[in-house]
């Protein structure tokens, strides 16, 4: 392992980045001190990623300069940055499942002795780096089969192998549950106590408050606030991020009576067992659980995406066979899947094509899909869900929030009886989040039974009439809105 890097401060002055005439970062001053954590917040597109890319040598600023301990620091590449003691941990984990943990950690810089990979040395170094983080894991085993959370830890271990003085975490918690996130935060605590300077980027403000010493907020490429973490609260941060106040705690409109739309009885598979729940008209049911608890598997089975072994689903009192997605769709049960890019949208196809995909075979009586059908569907959905952007261009070119709205719109072309939303606001900025919450409430008000699965406890508690808590594939409890306090839900999650 390399020598520990002992730099004290990294400072950026008037950092500016333009694309064409469009400035995405405007004269931002920024500094990280050894042994402290800077929380970097802002809506999507505020410039957080650009700033962190500049610091990590992925992009170069058009204006401004950086120094490390008063020496100029102008990395030409991420490797250059690493050599100067700056490492970045990306939001999306990129691992090669077939390779071992150690090989993944040393990917691109495998140690070579006499023309051969020095496996023993590499494994030893990997083991030491993992142990440093308090992770016990055999570095020789393949990455395939490891949980996202463990992969995240490997990613962190990989970044700190060379003992960087500064580490940037770019939304490490985006795909982690609360428990796993807490472990990442503990590891950041550890890094801080050893004198590392950390930048922590996250949408989850509670985490930022929990870990950061200082908080920096960007909006539209400019720095709009910098506080000592003790002097700022959630509401203050949100105000700075969006430039306005948000009415966040309003309760959803009460459900219409107790009419049951669908009931799930004793649903079991290899990943979960005996799930029994009634979905009522106009009710929002939250599903809470740690990553790996089976929460996604349950709803996927209900939506016909994965098979289940036993159990019964009744829609409006009549049993329905759900063996495939088309079965679920005919029963009126639709699912917005958790991974927008891999499961939800064809990014290279237009928004209009994406929204029409499930419906071409179902809503076109003549059997011939005309441009008129597509145009009408597109206009109707654009106004109902308020999607901003050109719907005749590939959906991948839209912002994350608008992509998510397109995905939602795809499943609202025909109003479902039961709508399942798995992580409805992942990777979406605060403004779009509010808009999506509005849509969810409006759907419930129209009588749709909505199921919201989310790893953000706050989201579940905010939206739901009732909360089902899942742990280890079992349903621990179904709590009413009054019973569902954060403490109670977390307690059941880890039980």
């Amino acid at each position: 392992m390399s020598e520990a890097n002992t730099a004290r401060t990294l400072t950026g002055t008037a950092l500016t980045k333009r694309y064409g005439g469009n400035a995405v970062l405007r004269a931002v001053d920024f500094s990280i001190a050894a042994g402290s954590v800077v929380g970097l917040i802002g809506e999507n597109g505020a410039g957080k990623s650009t700033l962190s890319s500049i610091i990590a040598g992925i992009k170069r600023p058009d204006d401004g300069a950086m120094t490390i301990d008063d020496r100029p620091y102008a990395p030409a590449s991420p490797i250059d940055a690493l050599n100067s003691g700056v490492a970045i941990i990306h939001q999306e984990i990129k691992m090669i499942p077939e390779l071992s943990v150690a090989e993944n950690m040393f990917l691109g810089r495998l140690p070579v002795r006499r023309g051969r990979v020095a496996t023993r040395e590499m494994v030893a170094d990997a083991r030491a780096a993992l142990a440093d983080l308090g992770v016990t894991l055999d570095p020789r085993r393949p990455v395939a089969g490891l949980s996202t959370a463990t992969q995240q830890e490997i990613e962190i271990a990989r970044a700190i192998i060379r003992r960087p003085a500064f580490v940037i975490f770019d939304e490490p918690s985006a795909s982690l549950g609360r428990h796993e996130t807490e472990r990442v935060l503990e590891q950041i605590d550890l890094l801080r106590s050893r004198g590392t300077g950390v930048v922590y980027i996250s949408h989850r403000l509670d985490e930022v408050l929990r870990i950061a010493d200082r908080v920096v907020c960007l909006r539209d490429g400019s720095k709009v606030g910098e506080w000592d973490a003790r002097d700022i609260d959630r509401e203050g941060m949100i105000r700075a991020m969006v430039g306005r106040d948000l009415a966040r705690r309003e309760a959803p409109p009460p459900p219409h009576g107790h009419e049951v739309v669908a009931s799930v009885q004793d649903l079991s598979s290899s990943r979960f067992e005996n799930i029994t729940v009634e979905l009522r008209r106009g009710e929002i049911l939250g599903v809470s659980g740690l990553v790996g608890s089976g929460r996604t598997e349950i709803v996927r089975a209900l939506a016909g995406a994965d098979p289940f072994d036993s159990g019964e689903v009744l829609v409006e009192g009549a049993p329905v066979k759900i063996r495939s997605v088309p079965d679920a769709i005919s029963a009126g049960i639709y699912m917005v899947p958790e991974d927008r890019k891999a499961q939800g949208l064809n990014l290279n196809r237009t928004s209009a094509e994406n929204m029409a995909l499930p419906w071409e075979s179902r809503l076109v009586p003549s059997g011939f899909v005309t441009t008129r059908f597509l145009d009408r569907l597109k206009r109707r959905m654009a106004s109902e869900v308020d999607i901003r952007g050109d719907l005749d261009r590939p959906v991948g070119l839209l912002s994350g929030g608008n992509q998510q709205k397109v995905l939602l719109a795809k499943w609202l072309v025909r109003i479902p009886k039961v709508l399942i939303l798995d992580e409805p606001t992942r990777g979406v900025d605060v403004g779009a989040k509010e808009a999506i919450y509005e849509i969810i409430r409006a759907l419930a008000a129209r009588g749709v039974a909505v199921v919201v699965v989310s790893s953000e406890l706050e989201e579940v508690l905010l939206l739901s009439h009732r909360v089902m808590v899942v742990a280890a594939g079992r349903q621990r409890a179904i709590l009413t809105r009054e019973e569902a306090t954060p403490e109670r839900v977390m307690q059941l999650c880890v039980s």
Binding site: A303, A305, A342, N346, R379, S383, D392, I439, L443
Partner: protein, 341 residues
């Protein structure tokens, strides 16, 4: 839904939308189409015979059986698969026609049905292997290609079968408005396939499956069923192409349907702008690609270029087509966007 948060003005009048759509479609085709026009211009300049009606019809006749197979191959490639077995299926299915007629003495129309069923059956087998056996399309169809080639040699011990009914052989001589039947057959196949791809839900969803199979599945598309249908269709069309070749050759040759036919089929689809990664391609593009290959082969022969050199030219054209269609254009586009943004 009651959630119209803000009213948006409708962006563009319908006529303007239509114009931009036509433009974007032309842009997609522009690479191969410009290539074809240039090629025709150059060839007619170099050879006085090239631009005669007879020669042009001749080109269409020569590519017709390739075109029939290329229609099926386009569907498969858009779906994200590949079919290496088409030309071998062409050979085998017509061999089955000839053997059942000659050796078993069945009525010829039944033999034709059995031949078509053979092609469809092998296509279906490809589909089953890909959709349910989870075998990669390249490997599954490589295997059936070998098997089909071997079977057609085995059926006759490698000797050609002659003595097919006169009316059948006569079909290849029939002309309507000076153009032989097989050309009409190809054009009908291409048009039906094009309309299916553009207007029918199943055809349209091939693009979705080719772009991302999981997205398509979670959208309620019956992915496996469609894979079966498309591979079976490709096998059926290969058998139809077998009939066209058989009528023209006046015999069932065990060597019919060799690998150079297969390569022409895939080349036509790829020159036409389809991506082997799936999700991209069009029937019109394939048709243009097919004409490019036909014009090249015909023109180079007229110019007395050695037939052994002709594949070298086609190879170069494939690379040119792929570069001009996708990469070069996208590089330019990115540059100009950077400058204007």
């Amino acid at each position: 839904m009651a959630t119209s948060l803000t009213e948006r003005p409708t962006a563009l009048p319908a006529s303007a939308i239509r114009i931009t759509q036509v433009k974007s479609r032309l842009k997609m085709l522009s690479g191969p189409l410009i290539g074809l026009v240039l090629l025709i211009a150059v060839m007619s300049f170099l050879s006085p015979v090239f631009l005669t009606t007879n020669n042009l019809i001749n080109i269409l006749v020569q590519v017709s059986y390739i075109g029939i197979m290329a229609a099926g191959a386009t569907l498969i490639i858009i779906l994200g698969g590949i079919d290496l077995s088409v030309s071998a299926v062409l050979g085998l299915s017509f061999m089955v026609v000839a053997v059942t007629y000659q050796n078993l003495g069945w009525p010829f129309w039944i033999c034709i049905i059995v031949g078509l069923a053979t092609g469809t059956g092998i296509g279906l087998l490809n589909g089953v292997l890909v959709a349910f056996g989870k075998v990669q399309a390249f490997i599954a169809t490589l295997a059936t290609m070998f098997a089909a080639t071997g079977l057609s040699l085995y059926l006759t011990n490698g000797t050609p079968i002659l003595g097919l009914p006169d009316w059948f052989l006569g079909l290849s001589q029939v002309r309507l408005l000076g153009v032989s039947l097989q050309v009409y057959l190809m054009i009908v196949v291409v048009i039906i396939a094009a309309l299916w791809l553009k207007y029918r839900p199943a055809g349209r969803s091939l693009y979705a499956i080719g772009s991302n199979e999981e997205v398509a599945r979670l959208s309620g598309i019956r992915v496996k069923l469609l894979q079966l249908r498309v591979y079976a269709t490709a096998g059926f069309l290969a058998a139809v192409a077998g009939l066209v070749v058989g009528a023209r050759l006046n015999a069932a040759q065990p060597s019919a349907g060799n690998s150079s036919d297969l390569l022409s089929v895939i080349a036509a689809v790829v020159i036409g702008g389809a991506s082997l990664a799936g999700g991209v391609g069009s029937m019109w593009g394939t048709f243009v690609g097919l004409l490019i290959i036909g014009v090249l082969n015909n023109g180079l022969t007229l110019l007395n270029v050695s037939p052994h050199l002709q594949p070298v030219v086609i190879g170069a054209v494939i690379i040119l087509a792929v570069l001009s269609d996708g990469r070069l254009l996208s590089i330019f586009r990115v540059r100009s966007r950077r400058q204007t943004a």
